[in-house]
Structure formats: C-alpha cells, structure tokens
Amino acid sequence: MKRDPHQQARELIALGSQGLVDADQTWLRTHLDGCSSCRDYAQAAEQLVRSLKSVSVAAERALVQKTQMRVHLHAEQLRQRQDRQWLVAMSCILVGLSAAITTPFLWRGFQWLGEWAQVSSPVWQVGFMVFWISPALAASVIFLARGIHLTDTNRMSRG
C-alpha cells in the first residue's frame, strides 16, 4: 500500500531538518515546493521550534549553590563510609589470618588444659568452641545493634 505523501512529509518535518538523511531532505523539499498545506505546516513547525528555543527557564544561583553544597557533603559522607568499609575489610582479613595461625595452638592449649584438669574430650572441645566463637558472636551482636540503630535514625530523619 502506498503511503500518503502529505503524512510522510509531516512526519519528516516533525523529525527536524538535522534528523533527515540527504535523500529524505531532497524528497521533502520537492514535496514542499508543490504542496502549500505541507509548506504551511512546515512554517508553523519552524515557528514553534523558534518559539520553544526562545523560552527561558533558568536555574537560580541559590539552587545551584545549594546543590553543590549538598553534593560536597554527600561526597564527604561517601568517602567516610568508604574509609570505614576499608577498615572493616582490613580488620576481617587480619582476624582471619590471626585465627588461622593461632587456632592450632589454641586447640593444643585446650587439649593440655583438658588433660591437666582430667575432663573428658567433649568437655574441653566445647570449651574451645565457645572460646573460639565468642569474639565473632560479640562482634555480630554489636554490628546488628548498630545496624538497627542506623536504620531507625535514617527512618526518623526521613520521616
């Protein structure tokens, strides 16, 4: 089915002259030369584009300065958070390394204590497990409590 040339011309006009390939521009020019209604449409569109460009919506100085200040503050917060995360990551690595090194010695220490105190193996092994896991448990409880506190603070400051 052949397309309506007037609609095709108007569709091309709506794209703006910079959006057209050479062949379309040539076809449109030829069509406009022979079609007064599409020529009127093109003129009205051109006038509209000129009017649109003449409308001024300017950002006020105060808005720009406020935005810059907020961005600076937020950048500082992000930097601090990143530093904290780096510190936590380093601590985790150090703790992991020290645990890997000291655990065998600690195990032997508990074994020696168990034999010295003449308790059965499961007893000193449970003691070892509690001793070994308690720092991680304490740290988890502290982080959890701090996380809940931060969530509440954020909710309150947003609310």
């Binding site: 108007r10 703006g16 959006g19 009205a44 460009k53 001024s56 300017a58 907020r70 961005v71």
Partner: protein, 197 residues
Amino acid sequence: MNAAACYFVNGMESETSAIARGLRGRDPDLLDRLIEQYQHRLLRYLVYLTSNRELAEDMFQETWIRVLERGHQYNPEYEFSTWLFSIARNLTVDYLRKKRPASLDGLLDEEEGVSLDPPDTRPSALELIAQQEQAERISAALAGIAAEYREAIVLRFQEGMALDEIAAVTGAPLGTVKSRLYRGLNALLPRLKGAQA
C-alpha cells in the same frame, strides 16, 4: 571519516573520558563544573517533564546526588548529557510512581490548566512583556499535551538532542521517538494556533 569529524569525535571522547575519570574519583571540582555547565538545560528539562518548578528543583538536586553515587557507571562512549538526562528522568518517574502509581502519561490529568511557570527574565519594558506572553502561551500549550510527547519535543527542539540520544534518555525505541515527535507536533500546533487567534 574526514579530519575535522575525526578531530571532533576524538575531542568528544577525551572530554567524556575525563568526565568518567573524574566521576569515578568523585572529584568535587568536576562535579561543581558539571552542575554549573548543565544547570539551565537540566532544570528546563525537569520543569517541562514535571510541570512543577518546585518538584523540578528537588529532582535537580537529587539528580546530582545520584550522579555522585553512580558516577562509576557512566560510559564515556556516550554524551554525558544523555546519561544525565536519563538519570533525571528515571528519578522523576520513580518519584511520581511512588507518589501515585501511574506512568508518565498519567501526569496529564493533573496538568490540565497548570502553567509551567517560566521565571521572569531581565526586567525591561515591552519586549519583556511580549517574551513573557510568548513563554506563557508555549508553556500552557505544552502542558496540555501528553507528557511523553512533551518530553520528546523538548529534548529534540529545545535541547537539540539527536533522535538516538532521545531514545537513550527515554528508553523508547527509535520508531516510538519519531512517532512521539510527530504526534506531539500535531497536538501542539493547533493549541498554539488557538492561543494566537
């Protein structure tokens, strides 16, 4: 590609690469410069997108905060303005969806009769009044058409964006962008004629 075009493309790449590097490092001086550089364009887009100056100013600030947070995601192969406008658009659409579950098209109902309220330009006499009247007429006509058409028209004819850039900002296929421009223009022209009559 001729020498001039090659120089232009390389120039753009080095500029966008510098922006990408600065954004990755959260360089505050670069962000200050970008805010200054894009202040009017971004605010104008947001004012036309939201039809509400106050909301547009809030979204303006949030957009730059998001740029700071997501700076590492910027791809220097694309224009910075395209990325910036798509962030602004996503934030605005998300905000409006949270406020009331509707797409951008749903904005239209509440926009009837709302002026886009462009601010006063420099104080002078008749010229200022004529400019103001013209701006009000255009703003009112724009406010009366569907938000998606208005957005396409503003990006194309006010911001001078290429069709593929508009497609990237709006997340719509190229064919849809073309059709929005055509329909938008068809909706806008009679309104302006009517206002002039």
